[in-house]
Protein backbone atom coordinates (compact mmCIF):
# COMPACT_ATOMS: atom_id res chain seq x y z
CA UNK A 1 0.00 0.00 0.00
CA UNK A 2 1.30 3.46 -0.93
CA UNK A 3 2.00 6.21 1.55
CA UNK A 4 -0.08 9.24 2.44
CA UNK A 5 1.84 12.44 3.09
CA UNK A 6 0.16 14.65 5.71
CA UNK A 7 1.27 18.30 5.48
CA UNK A 8 0.11 20.53 8.34
CA UNK A 9 1.90 22.90 10.70
CA UNK A 10 -0.27 21.68 13.58
CA UNK A 11 1.21 18.56 15.24
CA UNK A 12 -2.22 17.62 16.63
CA UNK A 13 -3.86 17.76 13.19
CA UNK A 14 -1.06 15.64 11.70
CA UNK A 15 -1.47 13.19 14.54
CA UNK A 16 -5.27 13.00 14.15
CA UNK A 17 -5.12 12.56 10.37
CA UNK A 18 -2.41 9.92 10.81
CA UNK A 19 -4.49 8.06 13.40
CA UNK A 20 -7.56 8.00 11.15
CA UNK A 21 -5.61 6.83 8.10
CA UNK A 22 -3.43 4.30 9.95
CA UNK A 23 -6.60 2.64 11.25
CA UNK A 24 -7.60 2.18 7.62
CA UNK A 25 -4.23 0.55 6.89
CA UNK A 26 -2.37 3.43 5.21
CA UNK A 27 1.28 4.22 5.87
CA UNK A 28 1.80 7.85 6.86
CA UNK A 29 4.63 10.33 6.55
CA UNK A 30 4.40 13.89 7.86
CA UNK A 31 5.59 17.34 6.81
CA UNK A 32 5.40 20.46 8.97
CA UNK A 33 4.75 23.02 6.20
CA UNK A 34 4.52 23.44 2.42
CA UNK A 35 8.27 23.60 1.84
CA UNK A 36 8.83 20.46 3.92
CA UNK A 37 5.95 18.81 2.00
CA UNK A 38 7.53 19.56 -1.40
CA UNK A 39 10.88 18.17 -0.17
CA UNK A 40 9.21 14.97 1.07
CA UNK A 41 7.33 14.52 -2.24
CA UNK A 42 10.59 14.98 -4.18
CA UNK A 43 12.51 12.54 -2.03
CA UNK A 44 9.90 9.78 -1.67
CA UNK A 45 8.42 8.32 -4.87
CA UNK A 46 6.10 6.02 -2.90
CA UNK A 47 3.86 8.89 -1.79
CA UNK A 48 0.45 8.12 -3.36
CA UNK A 49 -1.80 10.85 -1.94
CA UNK A 50 -1.11 14.17 -0.17
CA UNK A 51 -3.39 15.65 2.51
CA UNK A 52 -2.43 19.29 2.87
CA UNK A 53 -3.44 22.23 5.08
CA UNK A 54 -3.86 25.65 3.41
CA UNK A 55 -2.57 28.12 5.98
CA UNK A 56 1.00 27.28 6.91
CA UNK A 57 4.24 29.24 7.48
CA UNK A 58 7.08 29.29 4.89
CA UNK A 59 4.92 27.84 2.07
CA UNK A 60 1.15 27.57 2.22
CA UNK A 61 -0.89 24.66 0.87
CA UNK A 62 -1.95 26.35 -2.36
CA UNK A 63 1.65 27.20 -3.18
CA UNK A 64 2.55 23.58 -2.49
CA UNK A 65 -0.06 22.38 -5.02
CA UNK A 66 1.19 24.82 -7.64
CA UNK A 67 4.87 23.94 -7.02
CA UNK A 68 4.29 20.17 -7.04
CA UNK A 69 2.13 20.15 -10.16
CA UNK A 70 4.60 22.33 -12.07
CA UNK A 71 6.96 19.36 -11.87
CA UNK A 72 5.87 16.90 -14.65
CA UNK A 73 7.07 14.01 -12.49
CA UNK A 74 4.35 14.81 -9.92
CA UNK A 75 1.69 16.26 -12.23
CA UNK A 76 -0.79 13.49 -11.47
CA UNK A 77 -0.10 13.22 -7.73
CA UNK A 78 -3.50 13.62 -5.99
CA UNK A 79 -3.49 16.42 -3.39
CA UNK A 80 -6.49 17.05 -1.10
CA UNK A 81 -6.71 20.27 0.88
CA UNK A 82 -7.73 19.89 4.54
CA UNK A 83 -8.46 23.28 6.04
CA UNK A 84 -10.73 25.43 8.16
CA UNK A 85 -11.01 27.73 5.14
CA UNK A 86 -14.03 27.62 2.86
CA UNK A 87 -13.79 30.71 0.64
CA UNK A 88 -14.88 29.90 -2.93
CA UNK A 89 -11.93 31.84 -4.42
CA UNK A 90 -9.47 29.69 -2.44
CA UNK A 91 -11.26 26.51 -3.51
CA UNK A 92 -11.19 27.68 -7.14
CA UNK A 93 -7.49 28.49 -6.89
CA UNK A 94 -6.76 25.04 -5.48
CA UNK A 95 -8.84 23.39 -8.20
CA UNK A 96 -7.09 25.41 -10.91
CA UNK A 97 -3.70 24.42 -9.48
CA UNK A 98 -4.67 20.75 -9.78
CA UNK A 99 -5.84 19.85 -6.25
CA UNK A 100 -8.18 16.85 -6.27
CA UNK A 101 -10.34 17.76 -3.31
CA UNK A 102 -11.22 20.13 -0.46
CA UNK A 103 -12.13 18.98 3.03
CA UNK A 104 -13.30 21.41 5.68
CA UNK A 105 -12.00 20.86 9.23
CA UNK A 106 -12.98 19.35 11.55
CA UNK A 107 -12.90 16.34 9.27
CA UNK A 108 -14.96 13.16 9.57
CA UNK A 109 -12.51 10.26 9.69
CA UNK A 110 -14.63 7.89 7.60
CA UNK A 111 -15.10 10.49 4.82
CA UNK A 112 -11.39 11.33 4.83
CA UNK A 113 -10.51 7.63 4.55
CA UNK A 114 -13.05 7.15 1.75
CA UNK A 115 -11.58 10.10 -0.17
CA UNK A 116 -8.01 8.80 0.20
CA UNK A 117 -9.07 5.30 -0.89
CA UNK A 118 -10.73 6.76 -3.95
CA UNK A 119 -7.71 8.82 -4.93
CA UNK A 120 -4.93 6.35 -4.08
CA UNK A 121 -3.49 4.95 -7.31
CA UNK A 122 -3.91 1.18 -7.65
Amino acid sequence: MKKVLVVDDSPSVRQQVALALKQAGFEIIEAVDGADGVAKIDSDPTVGVVICDVNMPRMNGLELVETVHRNPKHASLPIVMLTTEGQPQLIQRAKKAGAKGWIVKPFKANLLVAAVKKLMPA
Binding site: P11, L19, N55, K105, P106, K108
Partner: protein, 303 residues
Protein backbone atom coordinates in the same frame (compact mmCIF):
# COMPACT_ATOMS: atom_id res chain seq x y z
CA UNK B 1 4.82 56.04 25.85
CA UNK B 2 1.51 54.66 24.69
CA UNK B 3 3.29 52.66 21.98
CA UNK B 4 5.56 51.10 24.60
CA UNK B 5 2.51 50.31 26.73
CA UNK B 6 0.78 48.64 23.78
CA UNK B 7 4.02 46.78 22.98
CA UNK B 8 4.25 45.38 26.48
CA UNK B 9 0.57 44.47 26.40
CA UNK B 10 1.06 42.74 23.06
CA UNK B 11 4.11 40.80 24.27
CA UNK B 12 2.21 39.60 27.34
CA UNK B 13 -0.76 38.66 25.17
CA UNK B 14 1.41 36.74 22.69
CA UNK B 15 3.07 34.90 25.57
CA UNK B 16 -0.33 33.91 26.96
CA UNK B 17 -1.60 32.94 23.54
CA UNK B 18 1.42 30.72 22.91
CA UNK B 19 1.10 29.14 26.35
CA UNK B 20 -2.60 28.42 25.82
CA UNK B 21 -1.85 27.01 22.37
CA UNK B 22 0.97 24.81 23.65
CA UNK B 23 -1.15 23.63 26.55
CA UNK B 24 -4.18 22.71 24.45
CA UNK B 25 -1.98 21.25 21.72
CA UNK B 26 -0.17 19.03 24.23
CA UNK B 27 -3.36 17.92 25.94
CA UNK B 28 -5.12 17.21 22.66
CA UNK B 29 -2.14 15.20 21.40
CA UNK B 30 -2.02 13.27 24.63
CA UNK B 31 -5.75 12.50 24.40
CA UNK B 32 -5.45 11.50 20.72
CA UNK B 33 -2.47 9.32 21.57
CA UNK B 34 -4.61 7.62 24.24
CA UNK B 35 -7.32 7.04 21.64
CA UNK B 36 -4.76 5.56 19.28
CA UNK B 37 -3.57 3.19 22.02
CA UNK B 38 -7.16 2.11 22.71
CA UNK B 39 -7.66 1.35 19.03
CA UNK B 40 -4.30 -0.48 18.83
CA UNK B 41 -5.17 -2.56 21.87
CA UNK B 42 -8.64 -3.34 20.53
CA UNK B 43 -7.14 -4.33 17.18
CA UNK B 44 -4.47 -6.49 18.87
CA UNK B 45 -7.07 -8.11 21.11
CA UNK B 46 -9.27 -8.77 18.10
CA UNK B 47 -6.37 -10.32 16.16
CA UNK B 48 -5.46 -12.45 19.16
CA UNK B 49 -9.09 -13.58 19.58
CA UNK B 50 -9.31 -14.33 15.86
CA UNK B 51 -6.10 -16.36 15.97
CA UNK B 52 -7.22 -18.23 19.09
CA UNK B 53 -10.65 -18.97 17.64
CA UNK B 54 -9.14 -19.97 14.32
CA UNK B 55 -6.69 -22.22 16.20
CA UNK B 56 -9.44 -23.80 18.31
CA UNK B 57 -11.74 -24.15 15.31
CA UNK B 58 -8.86 -25.45 13.21
CA UNK B 59 -7.64 -28.06 15.74
CA UNK B 60 -11.12 -29.15 16.78
CA UNK B 61 -12.49 -29.14 13.27
CA UNK B 62 -9.39 -30.95 12.01
CA UNK B 63 -9.78 -33.57 14.72
CA UNK B 64 -13.49 -33.92 14.01
CA UNK B 65 -12.93 -34.03 10.28
CA UNK B 66 -10.18 -36.61 10.72
CA UNK B 67 -12.54 -38.65 12.90
CA UNK B 68 -15.33 -38.23 10.37
CA UNK B 69 -13.02 -39.28 7.55
CA UNK B 70 -11.86 -42.28 9.53
CA UNK B 71 -15.44 -43.28 10.34
CA UNK B 72 -16.46 -42.62 6.76
CA UNK B 73 -13.65 -44.90 5.53
CA UNK B 74 -14.67 -47.55 8.02
CA UNK B 75 -18.26 -47.06 6.97
CA UNK B 76 -17.36 -47.51 3.30
CA UNK B 77 -15.44 -50.67 4.14
CA UNK B 78 -18.32 -51.89 6.29
CA UNK B 79 -20.81 -51.00 3.61
CA UNK B 80 -18.77 -52.92 1.02
CA UNK B 81 -18.60 -55.84 3.44
CA UNK B 82 -22.35 -55.67 4.10
CA UNK B 83 -23.10 -55.44 0.39
CA UNK B 84 -20.86 -58.47 -0.21
CA UNK B 85 -22.52 -60.25 2.69
CA UNK B 86 -25.98 -59.46 1.34
CA UNK B 87 -24.95 -60.76 -2.06
CA UNK B 88 -23.66 -64.02 -0.46
CA UNK B 89 -26.80 -64.22 1.66
CA UNK B 90 -28.87 -63.92 -1.51
CA UNK B 91 -26.88 -66.74 -3.10
CA UNK B 92 -27.20 -68.85 0.07
CA UNK B 93 -30.93 -68.16 0.16
CA UNK B 94 -31.19 -69.35 -3.46
CA UNK B 95 -29.08 -72.46 -2.78
CA UNK B 96 -31.13 -73.26 0.34
CA UNK B 97 -34.40 -72.88 -1.60
CA UNK B 98 -33.04 -75.15 -4.35
CA UNK B 99 -31.85 -77.70 -1.79
CA UNK B 100 -35.25 -77.57 -0.10
CA UNK B 101 -36.95 -78.24 -3.43
CA UNK B 102 -34.51 -81.07 -4.15
CA UNK B 103 -35.12 -82.65 -0.74
CA UNK B 104 -38.85 -82.63 -1.53
CA UNK B 105 -38.11 -84.23 -4.94
CA UNK B 106 -36.02 -86.88 -3.16
CA UNK B 107 -38.94 -87.54 -0.80
CA UNK B 108 -41.28 -87.93 -3.77
CA UNK B 109 -38.74 -90.24 -5.51
CA UNK B 110 -38.39 -92.30 -2.32
CA UNK B 111 -42.14 -92.80 -2.22
CA UNK B 112 -42.06 -94.01 -5.87
CA UNK B 113 -39.17 -96.36 -5.00
CA UNK B 114 -41.20 -97.65 -2.05
CA UNK B 115 -44.14 -98.37 -4.35
CA UNK B 116 -41.84 -100.16 -6.83
CA UNK B 117 -40.31 -102.15 -3.95
CA UNK B 118 -43.77 -103.23 -2.77
CA UNK B 119 -44.73 -104.24 -6.32
CA UNK B 120 -41.52 -106.23 -6.79
CA UNK B 121 -42.17 -107.91 -3.42
CA UNK B 122 -45.67 -108.88 -4.59
CA UNK B 123 -44.21 -110.18 -7.86
CA UNK B 124 -41.65 -112.24 -5.87
CA UNK B 125 -44.47 -113.71 -3.70
CA UNK B 126 -46.50 -114.58 -6.80
CA UNK B 127 -43.41 -116.17 -8.39
CA UNK B 128 -42.90 -118.21 -5.20
CA UNK B 129 -46.54 -119.43 -5.31
CA UNK B 130 -46.17 -120.36 -8.97
CA UNK B 131 -42.85 -122.15 -8.29
CA UNK B 132 -44.52 -124.20 -5.52
CA UNK B 133 -47.30 -125.22 -7.88
CA UNK B 134 -44.78 -126.33 -10.49
CA UNK B 135 -43.15 -128.63 -7.94
CA UNK B 136 -39.75 -129.93 -8.90
CA UNK B 137 -39.70 -127.90 -12.12
CA UNK B 138 -40.23 -124.69 -10.22
CA UNK B 139 -37.16 -125.00 -7.95
CA UNK B 140 -35.09 -122.44 -9.92
CA UNK B 141 -38.03 -120.01 -9.96
CA UNK B 142 -38.23 -120.36 -6.23
CA UNK B 143 -34.53 -119.34 -5.89
CA UNK B 144 -35.11 -116.26 -8.09
CA UNK B 145 -38.24 -115.26 -6.19
CA UNK B 146 -36.37 -115.58 -2.88
CA UNK B 147 -33.61 -113.32 -4.25
CA UNK B 148 -36.19 -110.81 -5.50
CA UNK B 149 -37.83 -110.79 -2.07
CA UNK B 150 -34.48 -110.20 -0.36
CA UNK B 151 -33.59 -107.43 -2.87
CA UNK B 152 -36.96 -105.83 -2.32
CA UNK B 153 -36.33 -105.83 1.44
CA UNK B 154 -32.88 -104.22 0.93
CA UNK B 155 -34.41 -101.54 -1.34
CA UNK B 156 -37.06 -100.84 1.28
CA UNK B 157 -34.42 -100.43 4.05
CA UNK B 158 -32.25 -98.08 1.91
CA UNK B 159 -35.31 -96.13 0.82
CA UNK B 160 -36.38 -95.67 4.43
CA UNK B 161 -32.94 -94.16 5.21
CA UNK B 162 -33.12 -91.86 2.15
CA UNK B 163 -36.64 -90.78 3.14
CA UNK B 164 -35.53 -90.02 6.68
CA UNK B 165 -32.56 -87.94 5.39
CA UNK B 166 -34.79 -86.07 2.92
CA UNK B 167 -37.30 -85.44 5.70
CA UNK B 168 -34.56 -84.04 7.98
CA UNK B 169 -33.29 -81.85 5.14
CA UNK B 170 -36.76 -80.47 4.41
CA UNK B 171 -37.01 -79.44 8.08
CA UNK B 172 -33.41 -78.08 8.40
CA UNK B 173 -33.30 -76.06 5.19
CA UNK B 174 -36.14 -73.61 6.11
CA UNK B 175 -34.41 -73.08 9.50
CA UNK B 176 -31.16 -72.29 7.68
CA UNK B 177 -33.06 -69.86 5.40
CA UNK B 178 -34.50 -68.14 8.49
CA UNK B 179 -31.04 -67.79 10.05
CA UNK B 180 -29.78 -66.27 6.78
CA UNK B 181 -32.61 -63.71 6.92
CA UNK B 182 -31.71 -62.84 10.53
CA UNK B 183 -28.04 -62.37 9.58
CA UNK B 184 -29.12 -60.06 6.79
CA UNK B 185 -31.28 -58.01 9.22
CA UNK B 186 -28.37 -57.70 11.70
CA UNK B 187 -26.04 -56.53 8.94
CA UNK B 188 -28.51 -53.84 7.87
CA UNK B 189 -28.97 -52.66 11.49
CA UNK B 190 -25.19 -52.39 11.91
CA UNK B 191 -24.91 -50.38 8.69
CA UNK B 192 -27.64 -48.02 9.96
CA UNK B 193 -25.82 -47.43 13.28
CA UNK B 194 -22.56 -46.56 11.46
CA UNK B 195 -24.37 -44.14 9.15
CA UNK B 196 -26.13 -42.45 12.13
CA UNK B 197 -22.73 -42.02 13.88
CA UNK B 198 -21.24 -40.30 10.83
CA UNK B 199 -24.23 -37.98 10.54
CA UNK B 200 -23.87 -37.11 14.25
CA UNK B 201 -20.14 -36.32 13.97
CA UNK B 202 -20.73 -34.21 10.84
CA UNK B 203 -23.51 -32.31 12.64
CA UNK B 204 -21.22 -31.61 15.63
CA UNK B 205 -18.43 -30.40 13.33
CA UNK B 206 -20.85 -28.13 11.52
CA UNK B 207 -22.22 -26.77 14.86
CA UNK B 208 -18.68 -26.02 16.05
CA UNK B 209 -17.80 -24.20 12.84
CA UNK B 210 -21.03 -22.16 13.03
CA UNK B 211 -20.27 -21.26 16.67
CA UNK B 212 -16.78 -20.05 15.79
CA UNK B 213 -18.13 -18.05 12.83
CA UNK B 214 -20.67 -16.34 15.14
CA UNK B 215 -17.93 -15.48 17.66
CA UNK B 216 -15.70 -14.09 14.90
CA UNK B 217 -18.54 -11.92 13.57
CA UNK B 218 -19.32 -10.63 17.05
CA UNK B 219 -15.60 -9.92 17.62
CA UNK B 220 -15.36 -8.05 14.30
CA UNK B 221 -18.51 -6.05 15.14
CA UNK B 222 -16.97 -5.00 18.47
CA UNK B 223 -13.74 -3.84 16.81
CA UNK B 224 -15.67 -1.90 14.17
CA UNK B 225 -17.70 -0.24 16.93
CA UNK B 226 -14.51 0.74 18.77
CA UNK B 227 -13.06 2.13 15.53
CA UNK B 228 -16.22 4.14 14.80
CA UNK B 229 -16.39 5.52 18.32
CA UNK B 230 -12.68 6.38 18.35
CA UNK B 231 -13.15 8.21 15.04
CA UNK B 232 -16.04 10.16 16.56
CA UNK B 233 -13.89 10.98 19.58
CA UNK B 234 -11.09 12.05 17.25
CA UNK B 235 -13.37 14.55 15.54
CA UNK B 236 -14.17 16.12 18.93
CA UNK B 237 -10.44 16.68 19.52
CA UNK B 238 -10.14 18.72 16.33
CA UNK B 239 -11.28 21.86 18.10
CA UNK B 240 -7.57 22.44 18.77
CA UNK B 241 -6.95 23.52 15.18
CA UNK B 242 -9.76 26.07 15.37
CA UNK B 243 -8.36 27.28 18.69
CA UNK B 244 -4.87 27.59 17.18
CA UNK B 245 -6.22 29.52 14.18
CA UNK B 246 -8.17 31.83 16.53
CA UNK B 247 -5.11 32.40 18.69
CA UNK B 248 -3.00 33.20 15.61
CA UNK B 249 -5.65 35.69 14.51
CA UNK B 250 -5.63 37.26 17.96
CA UNK B 251 -1.82 37.49 17.81
CA UNK B 252 -2.05 39.11 14.40
CA UNK B 253 -4.70 41.56 15.58
CA UNK B 254 -2.52 42.54 18.56
CA UNK B 255 0.42 43.18 16.24
CA UNK B 256 -1.83 45.21 13.92
CA UNK B 257 -3.03 47.19 16.90
CA UNK B 258 0.54 47.92 17.95
CA UNK B 259 1.42 49.11 14.42
CA UNK B 260 -1.69 51.29 14.31
CA UNK B 261 -0.80 52.89 17.61
CA UNK B 262 2.78 53.36 16.41
CA UNK B 263 1.68 55.13 13.21
CA UNK B 264 -1.08 57.14 14.89
CA UNK B 265 -1.21 60.58 13.33
CA UNK B 266 -0.08 59.35 9.92
CA UNK B 267 -2.59 59.80 7.04
CA UNK B 268 -2.11 56.52 5.16
CA UNK B 269 -1.81 53.88 7.87
CA UNK B 270 -3.06 50.99 5.65
CA UNK B 271 -0.34 51.70 3.08
CA UNK B 272 2.51 51.84 5.58
CA UNK B 273 5.32 49.27 5.13
CA UNK B 274 4.67 47.81 8.59
CA UNK B 275 0.98 47.21 7.76
CA UNK B 276 1.87 45.65 4.38
CA UNK B 277 4.35 43.29 6.04
CA UNK B 278 1.73 42.34 8.61
CA UNK B 279 -0.91 41.70 5.99
CA UNK B 280 1.48 39.45 4.03
CA UNK B 281 2.40 37.44 7.11
CA UNK B 282 -1.24 37.18 8.08
CA UNK B 283 -2.19 35.90 4.65
CA UNK B 284 0.55 33.26 4.75
CA UNK B 285 -0.28 31.98 8.20
CA UNK B 286 -3.99 32.55 8.65
CA UNK B 287 -5.60 33.09 5.27
CA UNK B 288 -8.78 35.06 4.84
CA UNK B 289 -11.21 36.32 7.40
CA UNK B 290 -14.26 34.25 6.45
CA UNK B 291 -15.69 32.23 9.32
CA UNK B 292 -16.61 28.65 8.53
CA UNK B 293 -20.18 27.68 9.13
CA UNK B 294 -20.44 24.62 11.37
CA UNK B 295 -22.52 23.05 8.60
CA UNK B 296 -19.50 23.09 6.28
CA UNK B 297 -17.30 21.15 8.71
CA UNK B 298 -16.34 17.68 7.57
CA UNK B 299 -17.55 18.27 4.00
CA UNK B 300 -15.51 16.45 1.40
CA UNK B 301 -15.43 17.98 -2.05
CA UNK B 302 -13.62 15.93 -4.68
CA UNK B 303 -12.92 17.78 -7.94
Amino acid sequence: MLVDEVGRFRKALVKRIRRVNQLTEGEVMSAASGLGKIVDLATQLSSHTKETLAGVAGDEAEEQMSLTDSIANQSNTTEDFINGLNSKIGQQREVAARAHQQSRDILRAAKSVERLSQQSNIIALNAMVEAARMGKHGTSFSVISNEMQRLSGEIKKTNTMVSALAEDLSILLPAIAQMIEQTSDHAEDFSGVIKDSITDVRQRTSDLQRGVATLLTSNEDSVQKILRESQDALSYLQFQDTVAQGLLRMDSMARKLQVRVGTMGGEEMEDSEAMKTLAKEEHAEIGGEKEISPDDAGDVMLF
